[in-house]
Amino acid sequence: TENTRGTHIICFSTLKGKLPVFTMDYSRIQIPFEFTLWVLLASFSKIGFHIYQKITIWIPESCLLIGIGLIVGGIMYSVKEEPPAVLSSDVFFLYMLPPIVLENGYFMPTRPFFENVGTVLWYAVVGTLWNSIGIGLSLFAICQFEVFDLQDINLQENLLFASIISTVDPVAALKVFDDVGVNEQIYIVIFGEGLFSDAVTVVLYNMFAFLADMPVIDSVDVFLGLARFFVVGIGGVLFGLLFGFMAAFTSRFTSRVREIEPLFVFMFSYLAYLVAELFAISSIMALITCAITMKYYVEENVSQRSCTTIRHVVKMLATISETLIFFFLGVVTITTVHEWNWAFILFTLLFAFLWRGFGILVLTQIINPFRTIQFNLKDQFGLAYGGLRGAICFALVFTLGNTINRRNLFVTASIAIIIFTVFIQGISIRPIVEYIKIRRTNKDLNTINVEIHTRTMEHLLCGIEDLCGQWGHYYWKDKFKKFNDRFLRRILLRDRKAESSIVSMYKKLELQNAIELLDTTMGDISAAPSLVSLQDEKKEASRPKKTFKATDIRKMHDILSKNMYRIRQRTTAFTSKYGLPDDSQTREILIRRHASIQRSLRAESFPCKFSHWLIICLPLVIPEVDRLRSSGVSPRSSSRSLIPMSKLNTIEERRSPVEASVFTGSNIRGRRAPVPAARRRSPNRVDEDEDEIVSEGQGEERHLPPRGWAPENRDLGTNEAGNSLLRPSSLRSQRSWRI
């Protein structure tokens, strides 16, 4: 049959001229199909590594991926297949690099970055220049020796090659640093250096490539090169800002089209990249700037789901890209044409190390006096050793034109360096970092106290700087913040309330607590976890004001722990004030959870009755709380009418003053994981206690009929302000209700 599309239509029909029953057209789907297969293959190997967790701790993933790539490359070589030209210039720079850069920019820790921006740029820009020129000149000197057979490589080509291999790609090093938890300063310097040295290298590469073609170089050209450098860098930043603001502004109006909100992030950042490429300015800088600018405003404007989607997709794309790149590095290593020259390659390795180490030393000496936290020798070693080479180096060397007559040698040398640094340095960096004990970071700074005091100190320092008449670091920070609040936020954000970091930290911690408590109690209701940690039990014991029997205290803990209303208060507080999913939905979920838990409990036991009672009371609580919150009543005064809970009179009087503190204590200490304590309590013990309560409760107990699930039970709701478990007491005036 006549085919107009591909050449591989196979017709299984035996009847000529009739409708083919089964056809196959490979060429039509070839490209997407092969792409999908490669991605799947690389991803399967990634799954494979993580099955055995220990491997990835000691051997960085990039090594493993290159290894698998080498194997696949070997297979392909033996069947004489050519791998797809993935690492050729356009595919790499237009499709594979942007996701990685976007991820780096989007997840960049902005505060440490801006505090150290000078240092980062210093190391990235000056360091890369230093490395390029140093390595280039040294290699040129080596090339002069006749014995190495390298004399046909001239200075420009050496410099070109040197600029290619001086870019760092510290992916593996960063993962190790992150795992080990080295101090923030080194982390951000290496992170930033990786980002910006790419940009610098691309500029240098283009410059040297251009110069390599020219027969003669004037000093004018050097100055032009320098000018171009600034144009490229600053132009990139400006484009990035432009697109970042456009994206932020757009996200202000997307409240009715939530499904496509993530799209804008990706499209605008990609647009920034492409437009920068159009004008041959640093697309990497543009993309990073766009991502940083955009993130802050977009994340405030979009819905929670969109935010999660964006983050997730960014990470996914970046991971795919990175996986593919390292994988293909392995493949292409086998299948490409090599030229091996011992001298060149060994000296390249040697000079790469030497110049980097030397460079870090010198640069640190110069920049240290300008820093408040200075780099000691261990830090410097970490910085120098973390300078792995990677994908960009590889892609750039492949784009060398064929006018360079020793191109294959360059390719081989680059691959050798990459493989050496990734394998040797990548594997050894972890034990070395741990052994020399680089300063670690303080990860546990998530307390409201630290946040408050840090803010206070910032204001203080700002004031002191004002008094001294100096425009220091804090002055600029303050100025920017004011500008941000007055202009940028108004224009770019939908909801313009400025929020201090103290408030955000507070909300975040409260939310964490609520989720923790919700999780533990919901998951473990039959085991009646005590949400009050042992700390609080001791605390109660130390109070001289009231003495309670130990059994009473345990009972209190049990009843309190089963008091879902506390958690519901918290979560309803959040639903009404802080914009989480709306109330009816969460209530519905809780109700369903209760019902299912209830079904799993035995019919006659007290916990069942208890949970009945709770379930009954819950929906009553919620409107109460809502009403209170909307009327703005202060929590303290409202507690009296708040919870129509227990009728267990005999226990109330003794209990009420304490439970508030136990209660609030647990709310706070909730952060310090009462969960382990909770889960340790055995169900049996709880049952005993509850039975005691039952016996003490006397007549009251009959007020809790084992009704079924009856949400509209209003009787329980209206009365007994006095019978409330949470009767207000004098203590309340001191401790506020944890709503």
């Binding site: 630290v450 206070t456 204001h459 203080l460 004031g463 002191i464 506020s736 709503i739």
Partner: protein, 193 residues
């Protein structure tokens, strides 16, 4: 060196201040010039209005100004001015301390004490809830938060740090809550080195 030493004579108690605060002569001179600039009527001392003029926009402005004045005093002379600013000198790395040397003004402890006294205006050694709540937090957070939220935040802050359960933060608790923070970094002004 010689010129600065001669101009150092113009500074009252110059040599003694150099020793006490650890500032270099150049910094001391600059501070003296600044003092004279702030002292618009050339009275030789500063009043709170002079200082407040500089800190009008700072939410903690009046507290910072208050920290310069000794309790009961209304004026600040140059040595007191410098002694307060000495707290903000970056700490040196290789300081050898003999046993009899008094603790330098810019040690971590003294810096923390200064910050603590910003909160503790009535100097009773504790940051009580009202001090923290109504004054500092309200100043910093302005109108962003409601009264309830403010109380919750203050409550949470106190409960996080309050180890001896007295509903207030004493200096030791304050110090402990900040033990992982690099105080030297956060409370030093490079200009004063």
């Amino acid at each position: 060196m010689g010129s600065s030493r001669s101009s150092l004579r113009r500074v009252p108690d110059g040599q003694q201040l150099l020793q006490e605060t650890g500032f270099s002569a150049a910094v001391l001179l600059r501070l003296h010039q600044r003092f004279q600039f702030l002292d618009k009527d050339s009275r030789g001392h500063l009043r709170s209005e002079d200082l407040e003029a500089e800190l009008s926009e700072n939410p903690m402005g009046d507290r910072i100004v208050g920290a310069f004045f000794q309790p009961g005093q209304e004026t600040v002379d140059f040595p007191s001015f410098v002694r307060v600013l000495a707290h903000f000198r970056p700490t040196e790395k290789n300081r050898t301390r003999g046993g009899e040397q008094p603790e330098p003004a810019n040690s971590r402890n003294r810096k923390l004490k200064f910050a603590f006294q910003l909160y503790d205006r009535d100097r009773d050694g504790k940051i009580s809830r009202t001090e923290l709540l109504q004054q500092v937090l309200r100043e910093m957070l302005g109108l962003q938060v409601t009264e309830e939220q403010l109380q919750s935040i203050a409550e949470r802050a106190i409960q996080e740090a309050d180890l001896d359960r007295d509903h207030a933060i004493c200096f030791d608790e304050f110090r402990k809550s900040l033990e992982k923070v690099n105080i030297d970094h956060k409370m030093s002004v490079r200009f004063l080195e």
